[in-house]
Amino acid sequence: MADAAIHCRGLKKYFSDVKAVDGLDLRVEPGECFGLLGPNGAGKTTTIEILEGLQPPDGGDVEVLGRRWKGDERELRERIGISLQETQFTDKLTVFETLTLFRSFYREGHDPDELLRRLTLEEKRDARVGKLSGGQKQRLAVACALIGMPDILFLDEPTTGLDPQSRLQLWQVVTEFRANGGTVLLTTHYMDEAERLCDRIAIVDHGKVIALGTPKELIAKLEAPNIIEFTSEPALPEETFANLCEGYHGCAKRADGWQLRVDSLAEAVPRLIAVVEKSGAKLRTLSTHAATLEDLFVAMTGRELRDA
């Protein structure tokens, strides 16, 4: 098999008592779009920055494009593009000047104007960076990541804080980059983003990969295609629905109610209503949806992926 685009084994990074990354293995194939999904503080940024050669790991081994950061740094920097979680550029420079500056660091690269067109920033070409909106700044950050025609694109939360239209545009840019053979590693809090963009996803929590696979495979791990969420007055104990019906796969506590994983809604919903009624409680809300990655995360950790 050819070299992996990114390959790391037993990655560790400790900050005094915080185990930010705690024995993490990843293998990203060339041409793949790989997503790191996880809640705040899971260690996504730390992991991606170690892979980008911006932080040294405390333990473990990193290879990017078959090379190591020690010794091959300059060559690797020519071939990867990075968008940090929170990059700010010099406020006093214009968008075009910023991009031209970044272009000058690379042996070969895109024409800044062409890239601005692709990211629909051409209207802002001569605007000062300090005057851009959050979404425009984010697009500029991605433009700076793309300017050197990288083989691998690292995007740390590229769409956080963007409006839906800007998100779609960014997804489009990522898709185009991949169409030309590029490899992408991105982090996100958004399920839909991960499901739409990524070939494979690693769910990270407490510095470890807790689930890995294609979005379909991961959702299949839930073993339950449907989710029921409900709240009642008063709240009910877990035993109430222990033997709810055939095809009941378990439950998880949500902020003010329960989430149940079931095979068939037609079977489970009437039973649930009956059980609640029998216990003497009142049903306040009830909703159902097809299972997502978010539900997998909740099922595996008992916590939400995003802070509510």
């Binding site: 920097r77 020519e78 990075i82 990059t87 000047e97 000058s104 660091f105």
Partner: protein, 343 residues
């Protein structure tokens, strides 16, 4: 084809600077305002006449006539009580009373009072018929090159080169580190030394304008001239700019906040404002302190600039302070490269 990175980095730094109006004011306008204010405050003018009081009495008119002939005195007649009150509050430097045999009352610890006594006595004795036994001639000096403003301008220039050198480099670097811009830059194939050199280059380019402006201004307004070679003078300012940029880089090599870097900058600069002879000659400091004072970079720069500007010195006379500057710059730059934190 894009320009080489070092040129783009220098251009970026220069744009960042000129788009900051406050920075432009402090670098260009402020030194001129300071020169103007101090130049006028200390401009050479004929000494003021010293006010003296003549106590009213039968001889007052005759004494007034005699004293009025002296160009150094401003005599006035008043009664005894008023004269005593004015002497006490320092409105007059001396009181003349006593009639035919005058009585001089004055505070001998005050230089103006001692001068007044000599001038008054001379005027009264002359009026009474005293003859000069020897004829002395006078030659007044107010030569360009020896006035206070001539001393001041190179000092201000040195101080300005220190301030802009250190701030110009230090501030932008700490700002870029705070915003994680440095981290973003090292995530590219950019060469780190090119980034630091670009800071130097942009600084030196602005330095040329800064020096030319201030020197032209001082020349036009106060007729302050560079007596030595302009080339030597120019090279010394560049070496000064290099030395202080190096020190600025060192100070900023690890600071994470603007507050931290400001504090350290002041810690480095304030002693030199005081010690390095910007406004007043450091010759008044104790002899034991002088070797240390001369080893300070601002003292070295001021000495070299004054040497070339006021005394017309060449390299043979100023090599020592210039060597001190080169050492400060070189050592600071080398240390800064070692200590520099990019994140």
């Amino acid at each position: 084809m894009p320009e080489p990175a070092i040129i783009e980095l220098t251009k970026a730094r220069m744009r960042e600077f000129i788009r900051e109006p406050e920075a432009v004011f402090w670098v260009f306008a402020f030194p001129m305002v300071l020169t103007l204010a101090l130049g006028f405050a200390f401009r050479s003018k004929p000494p003021d006449r010293i006010p003296v009081a003549v106590v009213a009495g039968p001889h007052a008119a005759e004494q007034m006539a005699a004293l009025a002939k002296s160009p150094a005195l401003l005599p006035r007649v008043m009664d005894e009580a008023a004269a005593a009150a004015q002497l006490r509050t320092g409105k007059v430097s001396m009181l003349i009373g006593g009639g035919a045999e005058p009585l001089y009352r004055f505070d001998a610890t005050r230089p103006d009072a001692r001068t007044a006594r000599l001038e008054v006595d001379d005027a009264l004795q002359r009026a009474a018929g005293r003859q000069d036994l020897i004829k002395a001639r006078e030659e007044r000096v107010s030569e360009q090159g020896s006035r206070y403003i001539d001393f001041l301008v190179p000092g201000l220039l040195g101080m300005n080169l220190m301030g802009t050198g250190m701030w110009g480099v230090g501030f932008s670097i700490v700002n870029a580190r705070m915003k994680k811009l440095l981290k973003r830059l090292i995530a590219t194939p950019m060469r780190k030394t090119e980034y630091l050199l670009a800071q130097f280059f942009s600084r030196l380019i602005f330095l040329v304008f800064e020096v030319v402006f201030l020197i032209a201004f001082a020349w036009i307004v106060f007729n302050v001239r560079v007596h030595g070679s302009f080339v030597t003078f120019g090279v010394i300012t560049l070496i000064g700019g290099f030395a202080f940029s190096g020190i600025g880089l060192l100070v900023a090599s690890r600071a994470r906040t603007i507050e931290a870097v400001s504090g350290m900058m002041n810690l480095v600069m304030v002693p030199m404002w005081i010690g390095s002879g910007v406004f007043f000659s450091y010759e008044r400091f104790p002899d034991a302190a002088k070797p240390f004072i001369r080893a300070l970079p601002l003292t070295a720069l001021n000495d070299a600039l004054r040497g070339v500007m006021n005394d017309g010195s060449g390299w043979a006379q100023v090599w020592m302070p210039v060597a001190i500057l080169v050492a400060w710059g070189g050592i600071s730059f080398a240390l800064a490269l070692k200590l520099f934190k990019w994140q």
